[in-house]
Symmetry: C2
Subunit: 341 residues, 2 copies
């Protein structure tokens, strides 16, 4: 046998299943079966094939396999901004779950743009993803036959499920705590409604206040920009501070907004919590080290991603069930910005 026949590692191109089969002197059918641990192949044969595969450094082409099996084992994840702590952590959670299940994730960043999101969706479909995790920015168009689960923002009706934070419960904790401190003039720094979390948080804020017998006026809520940017949170807070009767406490609908508010309050030369108390819906990174440490809701970023991934996996395995609605609840982390200590 010449070296060519024996299949010394071909340096010029990647070995294919055919190379392995040739080296092991079996058909590609048998080689394929052997490598996939089919019970249909004699142990001795399997051994030969495996050895040949090792020798050649064979790695099956997942793309070719996907094409043939009609299951890509690709899953798509669309987020508004990967560089944001929340989405990065949620992505990580999802990725861990998917990888363990043999799926490869395709991440897309919609840049918080609905059109881009729609395009991302198409790109994912073109890659024949088996399913999608979507933190929508409003560009959702239901794909024909791939299941999508919404996370962060819930997509009413559409999709096979939603996983999000318990916005109502969280807001109850936040506002409730401020109420206990005796505040009555409590203001809100939120995001433009439209996306569900922004809306739910605002609605909950108003509802909790009303239940406490307080009737918040229009002035009591200021909306930042759709990106939930620090800068816009700062601006919104500045507006609150400029009111004839400024609030004695503020709840920010997110960590970024809270940090913006913090900047505005400091810039105004005011003391927290003496002049204005501040609480944040999400715990800012290093929230305990800020000046002052801020009272906030604990984060469950990664868990959110995991839950969403598991939901999708379940659908992929069992077919569409009832749309699942999962809400993860957060706890109050009491620090100093609320007036405690």
């Amino acid at each position: 046998m010449t070296p060519e026949e024996e299949g010394a590692p071909a340096r010029e191109r990647r070995p294919t299943l055919a190379d392995v089969a040739a080296a092991a002197r079996v058909s590609t059918s048998t080689a394929s079966r052997a490598l996939r641990d089919s019970p249909l192949v004699r142990p001795a044969t399997r051994q030969r094939v495996v050895a040949a595969s090792k020798l050649l450094g064979f790695e099956p082409d997942r793309l070719a396999r996907s094409l043939r099996t009609r299951a890509s084992l690709f899953v798509g994840v669309i987020v508004p901004d990967v560089a944001t702590i929340f989405y990065a952590a949620a992505l990580k959670g999802a990725q861990c779950v998917f990888e363990a299940a043999g799926y490869q994730v395709l991440v897309m960043d919609s840049e918080r743009d609905a059109d881009r999101e729609a395009e991302n969706l198409r790109t994912l479909l073109a890659h024949r993803v088996d399913g999608i995790l979507l933190a929508t920015s409003g560009g959702f168009e239901a794909p024909q036959d791939v299941p999508v689960v919404f996370f962060d923002q819930v997509g009413f009706g559409a999709g096979v499920g939603n996983v999000a934070v318990e916005n109502r419960g969280g807001m109850e904790l936040l506002v409730g705590h401020l109420l206990e401190h005796g505040h009555r003039r409590i203001a809100f720094v939120g995001a433009p409604t439209g996306l569900t979390s922004a809306t739910e948080r605002l609605d909950a804020f108003l509802a909790v206040l009303r239940e406490a017998g307080i009737n918040p006026g229009d002035d009591d809520v200021r909306l930042a920009d759709a990106v939930w940017s620090e800068a816009s949170g700062e601006r919104a807070m500045r507006e609150h501070l400029a009111r004839a009767e400024p609030p004695t406490a503020v709840v920010a609908a997110s960590d970024t907004l809270a940090v913006g508010a913090l900047r505005a309050i400091r810039a105004a030369g005011l003391a927290i919590p003496a002049d204005v108390a501040l609480v944040s819906f999400d715990d800012p990174l290093y929230g305990d080290l800020l000046d002052p440490p801020v009272t906030a809701l604990s984060r469950h970023d990664r868990e959110l991603g995991e839950r969403a991934a598991r939901l999708l996996l379940a659908t992929l395995a069992n077919g569409a069930a009832e749309p699942a609605e999962v809400r993860v609840s957060a706890e109050l982390i009491v620090r100093r910005s609320c007036g405690c200590e």
Copy 2:
């Protein structure tokens, strides 16, 4: 013509090129050419094909195309931890560049584990990525014929290029500033050497000190864990504080380490910078809002990712050139923890 022949959108399975071709009454060859804007097809024909494609909602299967063209337009990015600000931002930078060039990115999280990294590498190769961006954790094995560019950590010799921070220059800024403040007993909280950034930063720290006529002792450097965890930074700082002659200033090799050090100093009831000054190699998130605001080097996370991506793209387009070595330099952000103001 019956509806079947005319190709009303088949709801049960995704339309293929064959469906489009049938609907437009051309061969798949022509359909393919028409959709890819080949000059070889008559305008009228192209129109028919495009119309049919639209009508059916056809989206070409990228996997099939990749198989045929032998260019996946996939690119892999391996990071030690996506949930870390730095890597998330670098990923975003890279992703933007790749997407604009028509590449889809496959992200892998090595969990800072060399074996997992090696596995990630194999997975990427199995997906026939055209190239790889790697922030190595030590598990690199050179793939046969796909170019890899290292970022964050440089991979000596291997790969088609490296992009990293200017560690030496950054350390000069940091230590130099502390020296100007009159400090002589300056300590270091770093990461275990091995990975290049840890090594380079430590070496630079020592070198700069020596050039200033100071001879740092073994005690002056304490190493945290390989994950650069806050907790280990805190521990290392605690050790420094417990020394017979504690340092009057400390440089932390990263933001996380600096935050850990900050915690340790505070816990010891010491004042920054009065009792110990502190500077950080990377600017912590909200570094200006911490108590006290910390002096640090500006971040260029996203830029690092972009540069790395562009380098890979260039290699993909022009073939292997000389291994490129790009270093991005950082500026000193002076705040209060160093003793300024």
